[in-house]
């Protein structure tokens, strides 16, 4: 959710007429939304999807342990991919800011490539082509590597934005003190840039986490795969997929919230300086 400020700045304090109108529309909206909810529930009811047998196994500990194991694999893949992507993204950023035009061009090309190609295409590449080239990768790497490559370009750009956000005077001051270019970057510029970058790195994790849901393509046993097993054993597709979707949504929501909060905190400390 964005800062709510604009919502309130748009409106003046309501007068009596406006207050009445808002009250009327609030009632209408509540009725409308209530009716919508009723339609959804009725559809579930009519198709028998509210029967206890579709839902009661969620009360069992074993169900959650199983989903939890899948979630753990998902997080393992996502975090590994994120770490690789951060490393690769950092190198690409250094490449893009390099003085050597060849290095620069190669980095720009790689960044544009990773940003313009769907993760699915990369996953199929690792699934279909890489094994034929004589490289045998396990399912874990077949999902982790394409997700990492796919995120590396965006992360490179996030790093670059962070470096650009550090005032130019910082570089000038460091260089004028006789620090080398490398030292200036690693001891002065980058430590300041990282603070701007961390919020976007967290939101990149959301992208990586979403991409790992394609793990079924390479038969990696992630949350989605374990959900599929639950579905066959309980013959209960709708409820399981809905619950799994909610799990993903809640995790990503939490990550986005964390990112927002850190971005606000970062902006505050930057303003205080």
């Amino acid at each position: 959710m964005n800062a709510p400020s604009i919502r309130d700045r748009l409106y003046e304090p309501p007068g009596p007429k406006t207050r009445r109108r808002i009250a009327v529309f609030t009632v209408i909206a509540l009725l409308g939304l209530g009716f919508l909810l009723y339609l959804v529930v009725r559809q579930f009811e009519r198709q028998g999807q509210l029967q206890p047998r579709y839902w009661d196994f969620f009360l069992k500990w074993s169900t959650w342990r199983y989903l939890g194991a899948g979630l753990l694999s998902t997080l393992k893949a996502a975090l590994t991919a994120a770490v690789i992507a951060i490393g690769a993204g950092f190198l690409l950023m250094r490449g893009k800011l390099n003085k050597n035009p060849v290095v620069r061009w190669v980095s720009v090309a790689l960044i544009e490539f990773t940003r313009g190609v769907p993760t699915l295409l990369l996953i199929y590449f690792f699934f279909l082509v890489v094994p034929r080239m004589g490289v045998s990768l396990g399912a874990f790497w077949r999902i982790t590597l394409p997700c990492a490559i796919s995120a590396s370009g965006i992360i490179a750009e996030a790093f670059r934005a962070g470096v650009n956000a550090v005032p130019r005077g910082q570089t000038e001051a460091a260089l004028s003190l006789g620090l080398s270019n490398l030292r200036t970057f690693y001891q002065v510029v980058f430590p300041q840039a990282i603070r701007f970058v961390i919020p976007s790195l967290i939101s990149e994790l959301v992208i990586v986490l979403k991409d790992t849901t394609f793990a079924y393509v390479v038969s990696y046993a992630d949350l989605m795969q374990n959900a599929k097993v639950l579905i066959t054993s309980h013959d209960s597709l709708v409820s399981v997929y809905l619950v799994v979707a909610v799990i993903y949504i809640l995790i990503n929501y939490g990550l986005n919230k964390l990112s927002d909060r850190m971005a606000r905190g970062g902006a505050r400390t930057a303003a205080e300086r």
């Binding site: 003046e12 304090p13 309501p14 007068g15 009596p16 007429k17 406006t18």
Partner: protein
């Protein structure tokens, strides 16, 4: 433009026992004030005294908790079309200019005359150019606000308010955001308006200007009107101790 009316006529702006709170903070305490046609009232006071808030209540950019505000004898409407219509008759000039950033100066000038007063575009443009000429920025008409200096932007903003042919003008610290060398050009425009008989309420920190241009000075402190006086009397022998202290503090800034 208009000649000065004798006292006793219906005031253009009238505030009766106006109170306003921000949470626990009582920012306007029982303010009563009336501005007659053609009168120039300057409001001064330390920052946080409520002078800007007072100015902004007059066209309801700030709401009030109690009391009454009358414009030409009519209570300020609370909302809707009638409030908009009333605002269109009172010009406002802001500290931060607030020209619409996505439009050229000329488009800024004709937006409200065309969409509020329903003037034809041609008529509005002619009037706009005339006013821009008058404030000395006609050659900048096609530019975007950000391409103008602060002084030019503020003069264009004054022209934009004048394009609505307002009955009165409110100035909320019109020179506080300006570089020192640009303050003069804006004050000159305001002084000219005063001489032509425009009814004005001006919140300002420019004491010489206040003394020169005003018919009446209102000194506020702590959300109250502490003193209301003629400029001569106020600046040479203020009757309240707080005004004395205030004038002292701004006259010798190096003593702070």
């Amino acid at each position: 433009m208009t000649q000065r009316y004798p006292a006793g006529d219906v005031p253009v702006i009238e505030l009766k026992n106006v109170n306003k709170h921000y949470g626990d903070l009582h920012v306007l305490k029982d303010i009563s004030l009336s501005v007659r046609k053609g009168e120039v009232v300057v409001i001064i006071g330390p920052s946080g005294s409520g002078k800007s808030t007072l100015c902004r209540t007059i066209n309801r950019l700030e709401t009030i908790d109690s009391g009454q505000i009358l414009i030409e004898g009519v209570p300020l409407p609370e909302e809707g079309r009638r409030l908009a219509e009333l605002r269109s008759r009172i010009g406002m000039v802001f500290q931060s200019f607030n020209l619409f950033a996505h439009m050229s100066v000329l488009d800024n000038m004709i937006l409200a005359p065309v969409s509020v007063l329903k003037k034809s575009r041609r008529e509005a443009r002619e009037e706009a150019m005339r006013l821009l000429e008058r404030v000395g920025v006609a050659d900048q008409a096609k530019k975007l606000p950000a391409q103008l200096s602060g002084g030019q932007q503020q003069r264009a903003a004054i022209a934009r308010a004048l394009a609505m042919r307002p009955r009165a003008m409110l100035f909320d610290e019109p020179t506080s955001a300006l570089d020192p060398e640009m303050i003069g050009e804006v004050l000159n425009v305001i002084t000219e308006l005063a001489q032509e008989g425009m009814t004005m309420v001006i919140v300002t920190h420019e004491m010489n200007f206040a003394r020169r241009v005003s018919d009446r000075v209102i000194f506020m402190d702590g959300g109250m009107i502490v003193e209301e006086n003629t400029p001569e009397a106020f600046f040479s022998h203020p009757s309240s101790q707080r005004a004395v202290d205030f004038l002292q503090s701004i006259r010798t800034p190096e003593a702070l």
